[in-house]
Structure formats: structure tokens, C-alpha cells
Symmetry: C2
Subunit: 214 residues, 2 copies
């Protein structure tokens, strides 16, 4: 099934590999490429190991299996933004609309830079299993961070009809537009997507300009 | 790999099957369930046939293979909305903002009613192959219908910074929020999502109320 070119098997770490990545990151990178190209089910740990020229046993030194690799890949799409949301929340000088905008810009950039567009893996049936509860909890945390900033920034009319979770869901999904766009070879810059998040909260152009210091 | 309970094999059409679906629709429904639960790669045409109690040969009478089934499932998530957009476009009495809102409501309802939330299949690696060019073209057609209504409805400020394709992409993705929401057992009603689409175009509450006759 795999279309991976057969790489040499051995210990390329000692022989100046083609990348500068740590072994663990190299495994993640190769797995991301194969999952995105061929699907999760069709990708074996052997194919991942072969792609970077290590033995399957070396892969198992770093990861218990394919699920663990997918968990780590998915968490890497979310965790930096969850952490960033915390630092924004701790800044009392930052208005909610500005915090939401800043978070959205950072999140778009994280997704746009993710190797092999791994955000596409989030809707895999496999990612719905119990093993991925931790990832889903992290993603809910990010959604609720968006929701909290958004509810605070929103107009009264909006706050009367949307719950925090709903508004957070709408915004995280709007941010994640970069995933299908990138897959189709297109892109919208991060600032305009972040502007759209504020528009979703009912802010007009003047309010957006004020919030973003433009 | 499959967890499908083994159904009887034979010709259940003649013996009052458990559903009222036509054979072709019954195949599509069973395939959608298995693709969504277990993934596309892990689902065999045999598992699909067994699930509804027909022979594999009967399945091949209706579909050339798994790819054809996935194409048809994906097109069913998009085609009704493409057709509906055409009828909206042909109504000269309908303003663009109203048309956009009406289309978004119908589209959300179509996705919310799709069997087994087949919208989740759209990001499958398999759906990126040439075989799915037709589906992707249909989806682009829907995106551009959204984009055309949206550009016409949008404020000048927005029209100056977004292209039709970009705005269409943002809106179709906002509509498709129902797919992950439904997967997580949540829902936002169609009218509020459609309102959010108009907000994305820069419309304020008064303009949204006017466009939707509220």
C-alpha cells in the first residue's frame, strides 16, 4: 500500500541524516506525511520506520505504537495555542477582543506551519476513540478559551443568543479554515481570519480597528 | 478489523428488510456507517454487503467499488445545496444577503440530516485523489455560490480585502461547523449559523434583521 521509497535501514543518526530533527521528531514528521498521504489505517509503523531509515524496534523505543504517534501529532496542533491562551488570560491590560484576535492569529500560524497539514487528521474516525480523550480535552480547552474571550468581547445581542461553548466552537472552526485551504493549496492571511473572528462576535470595522490598534 | 455484526447473506429485498431504502441507498447508508465508524481503508466492500445481508456481487451491480460509493456519499453532501443555490440565483426579487442566509440554512440542514455524519469523510486522504475531482469541483461550485452572494452582500471594507473565493471559503467552512459539532454530540441551530455568515460579511444586527425579514 505504501508508496514510501525504501530508505536504508540502520542507525542513520550517526551518519549525518538528511534532516536536523531529533529522532522522536523525525518519527513524528515521517508519520504525519504518511498519515496525511495514505491514511492512518493504511500506514504501518514499519512504513514509518523505513521512511526515515531506522529499525521498527527503534521506533518502538520512542512510541508505544501508531496511536501514540497520532495523539502526539494532534496535540501538537492544539497545545501551543492552549498555552498561549493562558498567557493572554494572565495579562490584565489586554482587552478580550484584542486577546481573541491575538490568539486567532497565533493559532492560524501554528496550523499553517504544522508539518504535512496534520490538522486534516482531526476528523479521522480513529481520532474519535477513547485513546484520544486527552487530545479532545485539550481542544475543548482551546475552544472554551476562544469562547470566554469571545463572550466577553461580543455585543449584547450576540451574548443573548449564543452560549460560550457555541461561540467558541464557531470561532475555533473559523480559525481551522486554514486546514482545508492549505490542503487545496490556498491561504488566507492570519490577520484577516482573526478579523473575521471578531466580526463573528458582532464587532464592526471601527471596533475591530480599536481592538487591534490599527 | 470490522465490528459489523454478521447479517444474513441472501436476497433480503424479497423478505421485508429492516429498512425502506432502495438497494442502492441501503448500500450507501451501510457504507457511510462503516466508513465513519472504522475508516475508509479499513472497510471492505464485503463488510458493506454483509451489513445489509446482500452478496458482494449484488453490491458490484450497483457500484464499481468503494471509491464510487465514497464519491456518491460526498456528492450527496454538496449537490442539493449547489442545486438550491442555482434556484436562488434565478430569483431576481431576492437580495444577495437574503439568498446567502437562505442557502446557509438549507446547507446546514442538509449536513445535519446526512446519514452517519458523512461530512467527516471530506478530509479523508482518499478523497484527495483524482477520482474525487468531480466532488471537489461541485464543492468549489458551492463555495463560489456562497462567495458571489457574500461579495454582493458585503460591506465595502470587506470587499476591498477579501476575494470572492476567500470569502466563499470562510463561509462554507463556517456552515460546515455542523460536521464536527454533530460528531461531538452538539448542535447550533441553522438560523444562528446563517446569521454568523452574514456577520462575516460585515453586516450588523439591523442589516441581518432586514435581510432575513425579522
Amino acid at each position: 500500500m505504501s508508496t514510501t521509497p525504501r530508505a536504508r535501514v540502520g542507525r542513520p543518526r550517526a551518519t549525518a541524516g538528511s534532516t536536523q530533527l531529533a529522532p522522536r521528531d523525525e518519527i513524528l514528521d515521517a508519520a504525519a506525511a504518511l498519515f496525511v498521504e495514505n491514511g492512518f489505517a493504511a500506514t504501518t509503523t514499519r512504513a514509518i520506520a523505513e521512511r526515515i531509515g531506522i529499525r521498527q524496534a527503534s521506533l518502538y523505543y520512542h512510541f508505544a505504537g501508531k496511536d501514540d504517534i497520532l495523539v502526539e501529532l494532534l496535540e501538537r496542533t492544539v497545545r501551543p495555542s492552549v498555552e498561549f491562551a493562558k498567557t493572554l488570560r494572565e495579562d490584565p491590560s489586554l482587552a478580550s477582543a484584542a486577546a481573541l484576535h491575538t490568539l486567532a492569529v497565533r493559532d492560524v500560524e501554528t496550523l499553517a506551519a504544522a508539518p504535512h497539514n496534520i490538522g486534516t487528521l482531526y476528523l479521522l474516525p480513529e481520532a474519535n476513540r477513547d485513546r484520544f480523550d486527552g487530545f479532545r480535552a485539550s481542544r475543548r480547552e482551546l475552544r472554551d478559551a476562544y469562547g470566554a474571550f469571545a463572550m466577553d468581547a461580543a455585543t449584547d445581542a450576540l451574548r443573548a443568543t449564543w452560549t460560550l461553548a457555541e461561540l467558541g466552537a464557531a470561532i475555533i472552526h473559523l480559525v481551522e479554515i486554514v486546514i482545508p485551504l492549505r490542503r487545496d493549496g490556498e491561504m488566507i492571511d492570519a490577520v484577516r481570519i482573526a478579523d473575521a473572528c471578531l466580526r463573528l462576535c458582532g464587532l464592526d470595522d471601527a471596533a475591530i480597528a480599536a481592538a487591534t490598534g490599527r
